[in-house]
């Protein structure tokens, strides 16, 4: 007799039979009957009619039978709440049973019966079980609190179960601790501000102790909980890291990844020069490599995580390139992930090895993989300049194979290589042209046409080649049509004499015979340009294009930070924040990495009001492959998610820009006989460059107007249905162009004019100055740095012959003229002097950086003092970076050079802050709002040409601002931060 017979009963009247069996006197028979009932339940049959009969079997000493009955109860209690009450008595009785197994079973099952009526009966037994002598019962009761909380949260709070649960964190049994932590974490998620899991050094210590003793699964709970803690300082951070590192060698990969998460997060707080930091980096590599020896499914999950880690801290795995080499029998999804990581790790040191591998991959069987491998070769060329030549020759070899898709893919990437290294590899064009006929994919055709157009003057038969494409113009995809149009116009501008007919043909095809608005409009623009002012047309269309940047498809920094906080979870596999896929009701708290060493204060500010706001707000719409450009601009267009009315200055500004542009376009569209709005172009000579600078990936699609349409794209983007990146245009153009004035004007409304200047302080006390007291400050007025001093004579004699000199200093400050004290200074007299300063003096790095040593001489003596100037006076007026340059620079500066600071207690809205900062030449370039948090992207230029990029995070209702600074000279960060603080607080 085996259990499988239970599955075979399908006859009618079976319920009736079962009923009889359930009511039998014989225990064996009863048990068999209950088993049959459960078997039917599993396969989806409705056996709820047997509820009373099964409940009747509940009172038994046979544990096996009892378990079966409980199993049934859990399944059907919800549909039969009235009947479920019948079972309550037995539950309560079982909770007192001498056998701990029965007590635990009863409390576990009661929690699973999700019937509101039962809960009140549950409280007393639960209270007893939470204090039970047996740990097995206690750990079950701990979980039961979470179950009960889900059904009736108020009841749990009223009954004081939460406090009991908190006490269990100090339980002697690690299993109980783990379950208490798990339950508290879950309850805390639905009360983001409750501070339920009060993580303080004492509890952390308890958790770390339990970590060593509990089961592997308990360790995961505890590590995940630790990851939410923010250590007070780097020393605490280090000591936690030290106690977590042994987990890295655990056999359970989930434990390993949870430990990696904790370490990645706490590492942020360790100073980079600490020996321990280096040790930790070394310790992280082996466990990550080990994860790759698992089954392909786990490997895939591991690789998705490693992809994140490599973007955040490439140094961890920089010597482990080989483990990411693709194995022949890896499944394709593993291969593609590995390839991505290989490119991210590629550097001059290992590029030869990587290229050799990629070349092998390009001859494999799987088409998708081969394509990606060919593309990867192109990415290598763009990333590692020294390898470019070798990459090109590898690509040429591959073209020789004549395998259709390899050739096409190679041409697409060679186009990108041309865009990165113009005028360097045109010798290969001949080979490319040979393959013209075999190209059948739009992207490859478009790339080839672009190349022909771009280098038309060096290709003898460029006109013939382009003409051949023109024959089937209407059958081509839009991408190819647009590219062809542009290429022929380029050709015409380069060789006007022989191609007039061709250009007329393509313009008429594009404007008259096409229904596609993009194509038509682009055609018209060219037409007018050419007919109005061919010189201007040449300037626009043949403008020098900026180079494309190397690292592409990187995850946007803020998202990356959040994902690092979710290592090992689904978020890290999807590369999406949890808010994007977890139901909105709970758990939608954005996590941030803690600030770097030195910030001291707690960083994850337990914001009271704002967190609630954040979880109420709809989940953020963050594109999966975070193209920051797209983000910034798309979000700019939507009204900010803050509740209050938007500050008038900004909104007026945005609307103004839109209107003006819109109006311009309307007139363009409305009356075709009018001359095209050339002024827009002439006013914005830089704008083509701006547009080109978009950090579009090498697989940049030529449909994005920016590519070669040049200056016209600002207009083009406003037409028809713009592709996402082109939507950038209306905003990026005004930033630099003729609309700049408008921008500044708007920014000026209601903003304090002039830079912030600190109040005067005493630099030289009279005691030290033989009666001369000097107090002073620095200011930047109308672009001139001034040292403003008050000289007071507190001596008994007259002072004359004043002179001043500076020691060499970090930014080359020097007096631009003599100290103007014309009249002698009588006793008890004060005089105000303003000394203009230049920044062309001799330079020496000072400590602190903004320290200035000054010597003042008078008829009595020479006095020395030192003072510190606010670095903000060095912020120059043209410190507003172009958006695209900003993005590219932000990505380009390694994360190591990022510094994060807190500005506490600053009660400004983000717009007010932005205005204030602009007064001190800190310019806001873009703003986006995510879940009530405003992020301002700002740039500043120092007088010596150093750029500082900043991300200012302002959460509505939270007086603490966070500033992330990125700069190629990281040492200025501290000073810049001080200026931020000073400007914002005054």
């Amino acid at each position: 007799m085996t259990d499988s017979k239970y599955f075979t009963t399908t006859k009618k009247g079976e319920i009736f039979e079962l009923k009889a069996e359930l009511n039998s006197d014989k225990k064996e028979k009863k048990k068999e009957a209950v088993k049959k009932v459960i078997a039917s339940m599993t396969v989806g049959k409705d056996v709820s009619a047997l509820f009373p009969d099964v409940v009747n079997c509940m009172q038994t000493d046979n544990l096996e039978l009892k378990k079966l009955v409980y199993l049934y109860l859990m399944n059907y209690a919800k549909s039969q709440p009235d009947m479920a009450i019948m079972a309550v008595n037995t539950f309560v009785k079982d909770c007192e049973d001498p056998n701990p197994l029965i007590r635990a079973l009863a409390v576990r099952t009661m929690g699973c019966i999700r019937v509101d009526k039962i809960t009140e009966y549950l409280c007393e037994p639960l209270r007893k079980c939470l204090k039970d002598e047996d740990p097995y019962v206690r750990k079950t009761a701990a979980v039961c609190v979470a179950k009960l909380h889900d059904i009736n949260a108020q009841l749990v709070e009223d009954q004081g179960f939460l406090d009991t649960l908190k006490d269990l964190i100090s339980d002697s049994n690690p299993m109980v601790v783990a379950n208490a932590v798990a339950a508290l974490s879950e309850i805390a998620e639905s009360h983001p501000n409750s501070n339920l899991l009060d993580l303080n050094p004492q509890t952390i210590n308890k958790l770390l102790t339990a970590l060593n003793e509990c089961t592997e699964w308990g360790q995961i709970f505890i590590l995940d909980c630790l990851a939410n803690y923010t250590p007070r300082d780097d020393r605490e951070s280090q000591s936690i890291c030290e106690r977590v590192t042994p987990r890295l060698s655990h056999a359970n990969s989930a434990v390993v990844l949870s430990a990696v998460k904790v370490l990645m997060k706490f590492m942020e707080m360790l100073p980079k020069d600490l020996d321990y930091y280096g040790t930790l980096l070394k310790k992280l590599a082996p466990p990550l490599v080990t994860l790759l020896s698992a089954e392909p499914e786990l490997q895939y999950v591991a690789l998705r995580n490693i992809n994140l880690i490599v973007q955040r801290r490439p140094e961890i795995l920089k010597h482990e390139m080989k483990v990411f080499f693709v194995k022949y029998n890896d499944p394709i999804y593993v291969k593609l992930e590995k390839l991505d990581i290989m490119i991210r790790l590629a550097s001059q040191a290992n590029i030869a090895q990587v290229l050799a591998e990629l070349k092998e991959y390009a001859t494999e069987v799987d088409v998708d993989f081969v394509r990606k491998a060919v593309r990867a070769i192109g990415r290598c060329a763009i990333k590692v300049e020294q390898s470019a030549e070798r990459c090109v020759s590898t690509l040429l070899d591959l073209i020789q194979t004549k395998v259709n898709y390899v050739v096409q893919e190679a041409i697409v990437v060679i186009k990108d290589i041309f865009r990165k290294y113009p005028n360097k590899y045109e010798s290969v064009i001949a080979t490319l042209c040979e393959n013209l006929d075999s190209l059948d994919e739009p992207e490859a055709r478009a790339a080839m046409i672009w190349i022909v157009g771009e280098y038309a003057e060096r290709i003898d038969n460029a006109d013939e080649l382009l003409e051949s494409f023109l024959e089937g113009f209407h059958d081509e995809s839009t991408q190819v049509q647009l590219q062809l149009l542009t290429a022929i116009v380029k050709l015409f501008l380069k060789k006007p004499t022989e191609t007039q007919e061709l250009v007329q043909q393509v313009l008429s095809l594009a404007t008259q015979d096409s229904d596609n608005p993009d194509l038509r409009d682009r055609g018209y623009i060219y037409w007018r340009l050419l007919s109005t002012d061919p010189v201007a047309a040449k300037e626009v269309v043949l403008a020098e294009k900026p180079l494309i940047s190397e690292e592409t498809d990187l995850i946007e920094p803020t998202l990356l930070e959040e994902l690092i906080c979710h290592i090992g979870t689904l978020a890290s596999v999807y590369h999406k924040p949890p808010s994007a896929f977890v139901e909105g009701s709970r758990g939608v708290q954005h996590k941030r990495l803690p600030g770097s060493a030195g910030s001291g204060e707690s960083v994850e500010s337990p914001d009271t009001g704002s967190a609630a706001g954040a979880s109420d707000a709809p989940p953020a719409v963050i594109p999966s492959q975070g193209d920051l450009l797209g983000d910034l601009l798309n979000l700019d267009l939507t009204p900010p998610a803050t509740t209050g009315p938007p500050p008038p200055a900004t909104s007026g500004l945005q609307l103004g820009a839109m209107d003006l542009l819109g109006g311009g376009l309307d007139s363009l569209m409305g009356d075709e006989s009018e001359p095209p709005p050339i002024p827009l172009r002439t006013d914005t000579p830089q704008s083509p460059q701006v547009l080109h600078q978009s950090p579009s990936p090498p697989d940049y699609s030529p449909t994005e107007l920016g590519g070669d349409l040049g200056g016209s794209s600002a207009m083009g983007a406003g037409f028809g249905a713009p592709p996402p990146a082109a939507a950038a245009a209306p905003f990026s153009a005004p930033v630099s162009g003729g609309l700049d004035d408008l921008f500044d004007l708007g920014g000026g409304v209601g903003m304090p004019m002039g830079a912030y200047s600190p109040p005067k302080t005493v630099w030289l006390p009279a005691m030290k100055g033989k009666g001369l007291e000097i107090s002073g400050t620095f200011a930047r007025r109308a672009g001139v740095i001034q040292m403003e001093m008050t000289l007071t004579n507190k001596a008994m004699s007259v002072m004359t012959d004043f002179a001043i000199q500076f020691n060499r200093n970090s930014f080359g400050l020097a007096p631009a003229g003599p100290l103007q004290v014309l009249t002698p200074l009588s006793p008890n007299q004060s005089i105000e002097v303003a000394l203009p300063l230049s920044t062309v003096g001799p330079v020496m790095k000072m400590d602190p950086l903004n320290n200035l040593q000054v010597a003042v001489k008078n008829n009595i003596d020479v006095f020395y003092f030192s003072c510190q100037y606010p670095i903000s006076m060095l912020f120059v007026e043209d410190g507003k970076m172009e958006r695209q340059v900003f993005l590219a620079t932000w990505k380009d500066i390694p994360n190591d050079s990022e510094a994060q600071f807190q500005i506490a207690d600053c009660r400004l809205s983000s717009d007010a802050a932005s205005n204030k900062l602009q007064g001190s030449n800190i310019f806001t370039i873009a703003k986006r709002t995510v879940d009530g948090q405003d992020m301002l992207y700002q740039s500043t230029k120092l007088s010596n040409g150093i750029w500082v990029l900043a991300e200012l995070r302002v959460q509505t209702g939270n007086p603490n601002f966070t500033v992330c600074l990125k700069c190629r000279a990281p040492e200025v960060a501290q000073c810049v931060f001080q200026s931020y603080e000073a400007v914002l607080k005054n």
Binding site: K67, P286, E297, V301, G587
Partner: protein, 443 residues
């Protein structure tokens, strides 16, 4: 946080075998949704996580069954996959084998297990030692030993020569039966290694990694401690110091929680308190290093003959010690697109070769290949329109093989002591085997 919402086991045909809802977050209709999704997957989609509305499915396949967990939270897929693998191992340990039938027959037992291993979706324990205190139901063994079952005992689930010569039916019996039936006391130790090698076209070893593990399957209720001695000259870590050549080197190793390492550092002895059933005691790896020459070398000559056919002359040498041999050797040689047919000359009748058009490869199979010998083969492939560029498409050659009674690292179990001394005959079995994980020779 880590929370499992539902757990279910499906047969390969999609029948519901086990269904348990822990948190009441979704209905049982998702079981069918899962089955539709999983059967619709194509080969290039990662099967790891699939989502349906707010629900995420994580599954593994073990014993021909789908083991599925759902979650609505941002749970760790690692934890869930590990957990599902442990769960299936537990079920195998408890039921004796893993099959649709075994699960069906023991559903009450499995529900009981599910109640203990998870509570409200929180993983509680997967240790059979802890669980034995709670589990009441007796397992029902499907049938006595049969050859069919043995294929399920495979190492890593792979069907191997070794598993077919498993010493007795013991390996497929439920752990509980030894408790009262006084079955034979037995312990099986498997040292299993997987080798990944890439050899460049110039014969240079580009990459050589070995991953290995020691698995113990124990049926000894009265045994409280096993002492397992490994090679005395075993060095762990990446230090550059290389004493004398005889030492066995490992770069990384990790151990099961139940392993005591007190004597490991001094005497290379692992002490463990084995749970009944199967567990992985130690996992290790060696990267970019092999203690001896790679087992196979290939000397290919590839050319186009006058008739426009592709000629591939392959000399394959086995560099194993002469007493050892590789079994089930199979070489897969990718050939150019458009290949039509194959004719071959092989050196012995037990070998065979065929052109598999679907994979665009010639597969050459050698059932047994002794160490220190060399085999050669000539393949003529008909490829219409063969160009010199298409010759580039030949290769790389992938080998798959199995090396019985051999570990690539040289790791060995010196002794296996059980305490207290077992009453009656206690059988101790130690097996070694090395598999090719990926053995690529570029041409």
């Amino acid at each position: 946080m880590m929370r499992i919402s539902q757990l279910f086991i499906l047969s390969s045909k999609g029948d519901h075998l086990i269904y348990k809802d822990y948190r009441g977050e979704a209905g049982s209709d998702v079981v069918n949704v899962f089955y539709e999704k999983v059967t619709a997957l194509t080969g290039d989609q990662p099967p790891v996580v699939m989502s349906h509305r707010d629900l995420h499915f994580v599954h593994v396949r073990q014993g021909g069954l789908y083991w599925v967990a759902t979650t609505t939270e941002d749970s760790s897929p690692f934890a869930i996959i590990e957990f599902l693998n442990r769960l299936s191992a537990l079920v195998r340990d408890y039921c004796g084998s893993l099959s649709e039938k075994a699960v069906q027959m023991n559903f009450a037992l499995i529900y009981e297990l599910l109640d203990e291993v998870l509570d409200y979706g929180y993983i509680q324990t997967t240790s059979s030692d802890v669980l034995k205190n709670f589990i009441q139901t007796e397992a029902v063994s499907s049938r006595p030993f049969s050859l069919f079952d043995l294929s399920n005992v495979g190492l890593f689930g792979a069907e191997t020569q070794q598993s077919k010569v498993a010493p007795s039916s013991a390996a497929t019996r439920p752990i509980q039966s030894s408790r009262d039936q006084g079955g034979k006391s037995e312990i099986f130790v498997d040292v299993i290694e997987r080798m990944s090698v890439v050899i460049g076209s110039n014969g240079v070893l580009l990459k050589a990694d070995v991953e290995g593990e020691i698995r113990v399957k124990c049926y000894m209720p009265s045994c409280s401690e096993v002492r397992m001695g490994l090679n005395e000259e075993l060095s762990v870590g990446r230090s550059q110091l290389r004493g004398y050549g005889a030492a066995v080197r490992l770069h990384e190793c990790s151990f099961h929680q139940a392993v005591q390492l007190d004597d490991f550092h001094s005497h290379r002895i692992l002490r463990l308190c084995p749970s009944q059933g199967e567990q992985t005691v130690m996992q290790y790896q060696l990267s970019d290093d092999l203690p001896s020459a790679p087992p196979f070398r290939l000397f290919p000559t590839i050319e186009r003959d006058s008739a426009g056919r592709l000629l591939m002359y392959m000399k394959l040498r086995c560099d194993l010690p002469p007493k050892s041999a590789a079994v089930s050797v199979s070489a897969s040689i990718p050939v150019p697109r458009g290949s039509v047919s194959l004719s071959q000359e092989l050196s012995s009748p037990d070998q065979n070769a065929e052109l598999i058009l679907q994979n665009r490869a010639v597969v050459w199979r050698i059932p047994r290949f002794s160490g220190g010998t060399q085999l050669s083969a000539l393949f003529k492939v008909e490829v219409p329109g063969l160009s010199s560029a298409s010759l580039l498409e030949v290769g790389p050659v992938g080998l798959s093989f199995e090396l019985p009674k051999l570990t690539a690292t040289g790791l060995q179990v010196r002794f296996l002591r059980l305490s207290p001394v077992q009453p009656g005959p206690a059988q101790r079995w130690v097996r070694y085997v090395t598999h090719s994980d990926s053995y690529i020779i570029r041409v």
